[in-house]
Symmetry: D2
């Protein structure tokens, strides 16, 4: 099978850079274009010195221009753009028959009212949000296969949704009991020049932010509600901690009537036992971001606390890989009919 042709729009941020890192080692994809207003005309090896000497070192960034992207022959386009600008690219690219994987939040929320509530603005393209498939392969693999537009999940949502969906689908926990505590590395804030994210500000600093209404709750609750078959509202406290990459999530929830600890073992084994990128650590291991950084794995563990009766679920992932670029490549693998792990193991 010939490699499929892909382009990356907005390749200068951390997610874009991670896409390039992954595609360099991907035997089934030919990267035919990268766009960046800032770096147009410069080569990959120049903009990202880390990639000098590798396969795409000499590839020059082009302007973020629809016609240029179409000329590149790309069949798949990754959009790695800031919030709010994906529509202007997704519309014409889809109209031209290309398949789009968007890494922003722009098409993830199906309910435009929820979007407005969390993002404080009218949805730019409700018809694209309706059309899009939420790009979590472990839940929507079949739909991703034929999707024209994939809305690749956010970093926190991936770490929260994956541990909870098997339990909610089987009604093993009380949906309204869910409380989530996450920690994220600083790359999650993007390559943005803000004083808050300077080394001298973040080192030796631990802090919560966005409490109690972080935007990612919109997609988290959308997916949890779908799994539960009822509206789910949760508490979510994200924390900024001094690592570059990685998200660790700890979830507390109460069992439904009659549910015992072994039900979780069974549910996870059944839902994820064959998933290539979910590692079930069970009731003995505990996730550590250092084991998932620069990989596409999510590690999941769980505990029953006999003293309080609650369950504690724990997950770890790389916010830029499984939480962004890796998951997007996983979707591309599915969409293009390649083995799902190609370039990701």
């Amino acid at each position: 099978m010939d490699p499929c042709k892909a382009a990356v729009v907005g390749a200068s941020g951390y997610s874009g850079e991670e896409l390039v890192r992954l595609l360099i080692r991907h035997a089934g994809v030919e990267l035919v274009a990268l766009t960046s207003r800032q770096f147009a005309g410069q080569t990959v090896g120049k903009v990202f010195p880390r990639f000098a000497g590798t396969r795409y070192a000499g590839l020059a960034f082009i302007e973020s221009d629809i016609s240029r992207i179409l000329e590149s022959g790309a069949q798949f386009v990754f959009l790695a753009l800031p919030h709010g600008v994906a529509t202007e690219y997704a519309r014409p690219l889809i109209a031209a028959g290309l398949r789009v994987i968007d890494l922003s939040a722009d098409f993830r929320i199906k309910d435009v009212q929820v979007y407005h509530d969390f993002y404080g603005e009218v949805h730019h393209a409700p018809e694209l949000a309706a059309l899009s498939v939420y790009g979590l392969p472990e839940i929507y693999r079949a739909k991703i296969q034929s999707a024209q537009l994939v809305a690749s999940p956010g970093c926190y949502p991936t770490s929260v949704i994956l541990p909870l969906v098997p339990l909610l689908q089987r009604r093993l926990i009380k949906p309204q009991s869910i409380v989530v505590c996450s920690m994220s590395g600083v790359s999650g804030a993007g390559r943005n020049a803000k004083v808050d994210y300077l080394f001298a500000e973040c080192s030796e600093s631990l802090r919560a932010y966005g409490v109690p209404k972080h935007r990612h709750l919109a997609e988290i609750e959308q997916e949890l509600s779908t799994a539960a078959g009822e509206k789910v509202t949760i508490d979510f406290a994200p924390h900024l901690v001094p690592v570059s990459r990685g998200i660790h999530t700890t979830i507390f929830c109460a069992p439904a009537e009659g549910v015992e600890a072994w039900h979780l073992d069974h549910a996870y084994a059944e839902s994820y036992g064959r998933e290539p990128f979910i590692r079930l650590l069970g009731t003995a291991g505990l996730p550590d971001t250092k084991n998932v950084v620069q990989t596409n794995f999510v590690d999941i563990a769980w505990r029953h606390d006999p003293r309080t009766g609650r369950f504690v679920l724990l997950s770890a992932e790389d916010n830029l890989t499984k939480g962004a670029a890796g998951q997007a490549v996983q979707s591309l693998n599915i969409m293009s009919g390649q083995p799902e792990t190609t370039g990701l193991l």
Copy 2:
């Protein structure tokens, strides 16, 4: 007033070193002895090069020997020893009329059965545990004043108990709804040569540990139960994160019937409005460990989540200062009749 005389037993660990750091700047204390098996005979300036050139640089460590401590003329003795060995020092020192501030967990737990349950061994000295005062000045100030033996609180417990007690005392929250998520710096693991705490293992690593039954739950629940007037059992998930110092705690809990957001503002202002080492950040600010590191402050903030109805409480402290040595010095200030902030601001 003449400075009081103090000794530090087991001064070679991180808490002991922090005690020395604080006492160097303390005008109301004369440090008359430091003991350490490992470093006996060496000077402070040699063992801790950071303190060379300061007031106690030339003071030599002595053997951890009762008679030597008594000879030093110390009126107050800080015990900064590993778990399980405080009794052999506390008994004879108290018998000799000295006043002891113990930084270990050995005398914190009043119920020997609870001690056995969490520490897996018979209590070494139940009579000392019964005698001791839990050294949290914001709660037990009066008792500390006249205490012969202060059991200085643990690092996590300080960060959990302080935000919850005013709410439990006033029955503003449902005790059984409490869920706690904490992050701690690596100095919390002590100056112990273990592979797990190497720089190359901890850097870029985020992980939970001790879930769901960390030892600190024993004292946390003891104090929460006292405040609530009923037995309180909670969930607690500590996490190890790559900072040297600092603890950040996030607490979720449900309001009691009829309680509204402003009740918390009122409760905190009433309980802590005049506390010199508690800074109330209210419903706007958020704690950050970088603002409390190397200080004796605890910063506390709170939020009401109208979507779920829960409260979110957040606190930050330095695990070695307010969470250990600083709090112990605060107790000494109270015991010796000095202004409580002496040497700590």
Copy 3:
């Protein structure tokens, strides 16, 4: 003695914040004004949450306005401003009889031609540069005492000049053999929102910069030349490393004819044996920035390499304390006739 009155102009950067940290604990100084365009009207406790609950928490920043500074009653003014703007403050303040301690490079270089060569612009106020005293107390203590304008040394220069001056003054080394390698923490780059200094860029990054003609060479060579009695030109390679604070400097140089290892021991003991802020580690110890961070000490060690014949000199300091704010306070102590260590030990 009444405390002297001091103001800090441009208190919002890292050096300004460090000045505030030091002055909070300084019994001989009353801080009467802080200025900041950005934060005028806000209190110290609000702008620097770390200082809430301390002595100056309620002090409000004022506009950086000469008349406001004069009204404050300040006798001493610290200028903690970006490069190039000190003149507009120093001139009128000095004219009004105030004594000024400038933390920028603006008045350090005596030779306006050298200034032009390294800073690429005409000197703003050669008459002030001529008037100023280079604020290195270990070298210029007597002149600082009566100085109207102190040009407080740069962070790198302090770490380079102090180890070399005793050797150059005694002609123990060949001036043209000097090669210097320094590492600095990221706070050295200031509280500036630049992508280069983001946590995710600096963590796990080691890199040289400013090679081979860093601006600090101007003042380094000025002072080394004065000590040597001849023009000294050196190589200097600064490196950015992932710590928040701290500078470590390693210097290689060749002995002059007939000089032996013990000559260094003697020279350092003679020059610095009684200096309160220089700790001589000799030929056994090695400096570590963790021992000097948040202190005003410089640690100095030296070695003779019998294989090559060269000397290796090593120093460590906190770039914000001895390398900036601490040294400035040390000068103020001298200027105001207080014990030199007041507030700094």
Copy 4:
């Protein structure tokens, strides 16, 4: 071509783990055995949770036993053992016809007197040291091809030798003028439980060590002398800095008579212009370890300082990849006749 079969002896340290990481992605090697006394019987996925879910996750460690290694069918054996124990494996494995790549210092030093001088003990196997090829492909590619025993270079030596050899070979610099300053990440100290390498000790710490006679000087000077055709003695100051991985080296040296800046450009282009793992940054770029971490690249830049006349050479590498495991795999690729970059790009 069938993949060649390889074993890793002593796979539990950082270099061993890095070998496993690289071999997982290497299409031309089949990993047939890993040995470890500590972990015998456990699987790769258990010992290194990072590798769970990958190709060799189920492979069980075996005892470090010659007969077991021979039974595995390995044609190539990597020895990733602590200093001093390689001989007991290398001798019988070579006798049995296997080809050995040793990552320790045991066979790098040809002159047993030099070995004794730097390592303080009699050489264990001078005949193997004599037989071995120093495994720096950019210098000894042809010899590596047919080597029975490769002594893979140390981490610091790789970063020092590569920038200097082209200049020494062409007599462009004065050999006795060389002064080297290196910084290394903490993984360079190995996975050893020592207080010195705890996170809380290394974070916010910058320090030199091993000055002036670090063991790596033995192999550095051996190779520099060979290149220069005369005995070369240099100064070398290694520094420990808070990164996990990475070495940055800065070298100062004086040009030989008549040498100009452009001679260096020419020499590097000629020697390394076609090297797949050396990236020449020239006189504009500067190496940064973040660009080489987890790659097999060495980045090299150089400058002429017209003020002093000296050259400044700079290099960066990953101490565990190009400085250890990656370079060893590069040698294996050469020895086994595969493209040299297989599995390393």
